[in-house]
């Protein structure tokens, strides 16, 4: 009986929960948008002579943010379900290579579907092992990261694989519809799908319930095993799609695409209002979080920081931002 968590602790401290009024919560949910506006304004002032606000630079930021945003949408589900997916970066790489090779061999559709299949399969294996063997997804996906990175390195002997399929490049990344880059359109699609799934579908509600309190969700009849597997499949699939977008934009598949994106993605999701411990998630916040990350990246480069200093600055900023966004939410 005893020794259980959240519910009991909260209940014995009713004064604590009473302190956070609904108004405060609304504010917290909008912290990420406020941060976005503030950082944008700060860079606009600091870098006013460096063309930060020029349309070509803003488009650049958008293009950089797109794959991160797509990965962040998927990661939102993993974190909201109280899981985590550390394998996303490797899935990006493998998906880009599979897309490149299969597009060359069998055309646009086969290549696209095969690449997405990589993500579905990785997510499924991650989820099944985490659920059936009862290993924390942290460890399962860490192992998967190693395995998939290795496979990707073997696939084309560390060489990039060029994509010479105009349709693929146009649809995923390089092309545009009118003035709008196809990368941004696909990001909007991921945002819309993710938002609807999390807020307006039963499944999204089950993801949140499972992440908040798996035992309670189980007792209420929710099949939490399936939900957790589904959340990791969502994350893997989104990462694979990010790989497709990168492959389209760069017209290559390569073993190191996405390699350094993991921390950025998790930071984007957490800054966006998703709990690292499950039960709370925001897809829109994650996308804005990705935009913030891309903006920081771009701004630091324009400020003329050396790569080493950029890494330091970005690391510090990420930890501070995540710490702030989590402190704001601890009470609720």
């Amino acid at each position: 009986m005893g020794g259980w968590r959240a519910g009991r602790v909260r209940r014995s401290l009713p004064h604590r929960s009473r302190r956070a009024r609904p108004r405060d919560r609304d504010l917290q949910q909008h912290v990420v948008y406020l941060a976005f506006a503030l950082i944008l304004a700060a860079f606009a002032v600091i870098l006013r002579d460096d063309g930060f606000l020029s349309s070509s630079n803003l488009l650049n930021i958008g293009r950089q943010a797109a794959p991160i945003a797509v990965m962040a949408v998927g990661m939102t589900f993993a974190l909201a379900a109280a899981e985590i997916d550390l394998s996303v970066g490797s899935v990006v790489a493998l998906a880009s290579l599979v897309a490149a090779e299969v597009v060359a061999a069998a055309g646009f559709w086969a290549g696209t579907l095969a690449a997405l299949g990589v993500g579905v399969a990785a997510g499924l294996v991650n989820g099944l092992i985490a659920v059936k063997v009862r290993i924390p997804s942290f460890l399962v996906t860490l192992g998967m990261l190693g395995v998939i990175s290795g496979v990707a390195r073997n696939m084309n002997n560390l060489q990039s694989y060029p994509i010479r399929n105009d349709r693929f490049s146009a649809v995923f990344g390089a092309g545009s519809a009118g003035p709008i880059s196809s990368l941004l359109i696909w990001t909007a699609v991921a945002l819309a799908l993710g938002h609807v799934a999390l807020r307006h579908l039963r499944w999204g509600r089950y993801v949140l319930a499972t992440g908040a309190n798996r035992e309670a969700a189980n007792a209420l009849g929710i099949r939490t095993d399936r939900v957790r597997i589904g959340a990791l499949v969502a994350s893997g699939t989104a990462a694979a799609f990010a790989g497709v977008l990168l492959a389209g934009r760069l017209a290559i598949g390569r073993h190191d695409l996405g390699e350094n994106d993991l921390l950025t993605v998790i930071a984007a999701v957490v800054i966006g209002g998703t709990s690292l411990f499950g039960g709370r998630g925001s897809v829109a916040g994650a996308v804005v979080g990705a935009a913030i990350m891309a903006m920081l990246n771009n701004g630091l480069i324009l400020m003329g920081l050396r790569v080493a200093d950029q890494m330091i600055a970005r690391g510090v900023i990420i930890v501070v931002a995540v710490a702030l966004s989590m402190r704001e939410r601890r009470e609720t």
Binding site: R10, R11, P22, R205, A212, I222, T332
Partner: protein, 263 residues
């Protein structure tokens, strides 16, 4: 008050749920041994016992969370298997678990309808599980109103509610769905005096509308106050059973500590 929890034509004190010879072991620990219990419509049955007596295990067996190693459960005289929590619910059994009552991060309406969501959007909407937020909020408001449960906002996360409100939401879930058998595991644990009184009122309401209620509690005042019948477990066995009007508080304590039995 609500959509007739008691089945039509069911006499008020007919047996609702009869469990016979239920046993459950966890490795070497025999948590329940040959326990039989009968819940009747319109009656509140207290399930008493010290910590570790097997009360919560019994509730979880009846709620489909655990599978008993032996024993049978009959609902309305028909023997039933309860393989999952879903199965229990479809048999009309609603459980308010001690610590698993609500999901803190979901709002009140979401909690009330968790795993029984209303969907919209025709066949496609149903297939993908498109939530009908509007209808659920409206019905949630109606249900809580009927039960006189006052919650500041249905959009408020359950974790922000007081303990009494959280329990009220959990119990409201049972009522909202017209369940006929309600199992409550320490619903008033850690509640203040006034909040406890409100939860007890809610339990009386349930009983008066014909619901079969089982109440697990450590509090003897509460038993005398609201229960009609008492069953006592000790070390996994049923050691006493009596109508509450026939026993005193000290009798009950003696049963629980093992100083006396009726079996």
């Amino acid at each position: 008050m609500t959509a007739s929890p008691g089945r039509q034509g069911q006499s008020p004190s007919a047996p609702a749920l009869v469990a016979e010879g239920v046993s459950k072991a966890f490795r070497a620990v025999q948590a329940l041994e040959d326990v039989s219990i009968e819940l009747r419509y319109g009656r509140v049955t207290a399930l008493l016992g010290d910590n570790g007596a097997g009360k919560s295990t019994l509730v979880k067996c009846l709620a489909g969370v655990y599978q008993p190693d032996a024993g049978t459960v009959s609902i309305d005289g028909v023997q039933r298997a309860i393989p999952t929590p879903d199965a229990a619910r479809s048999l009309g059994i609603e459980t308010v678990h001690q610590t698993l009552a609500v999901i803190d991060t979901l709002d009140v309406a979401a909690n009330l309808f968790l795993n029984r969501e209303h969907l919209r959007g025709g066949p496609i909407g149903r297939r993908i599980g498109l939530l009908d937020h509007k209808r659920m909020r409206a019905e949630c408001e109606a249900t809580l109103g009927r039960l006189d449960i006052r919650i500041p906002s249905l959009r408020r996360a359950a974790g922000l509610l007081s303990g009494g409100q959280r329990q009220a939401v959990a119990i409201g879930r049972a009522v909202a769905w017209g369940q006929r058998i309600v199992l409550l595991d320490e619903p008033a644990a850690a509640l203040g005096v006034e909040q406890t009184a409100r939860v007890l009122d809610l339990i009386r309401n349930l009983r008066d509308s014909g619901v079969a209620v089982m109440l697990i509690t450590h509090n003897m005042e509460r038993v005398i106050d609201v229960c009609d019948h008492a069953v006592v477990l000790r070390q996994g066995r049923k050691t006493a059973e009596a109508p509450v009007r026939d026993v005193t508080k000290s009798d009950l304590v003696a049963f629980i500590t093992g100083a006396a039995t009726t079996e």
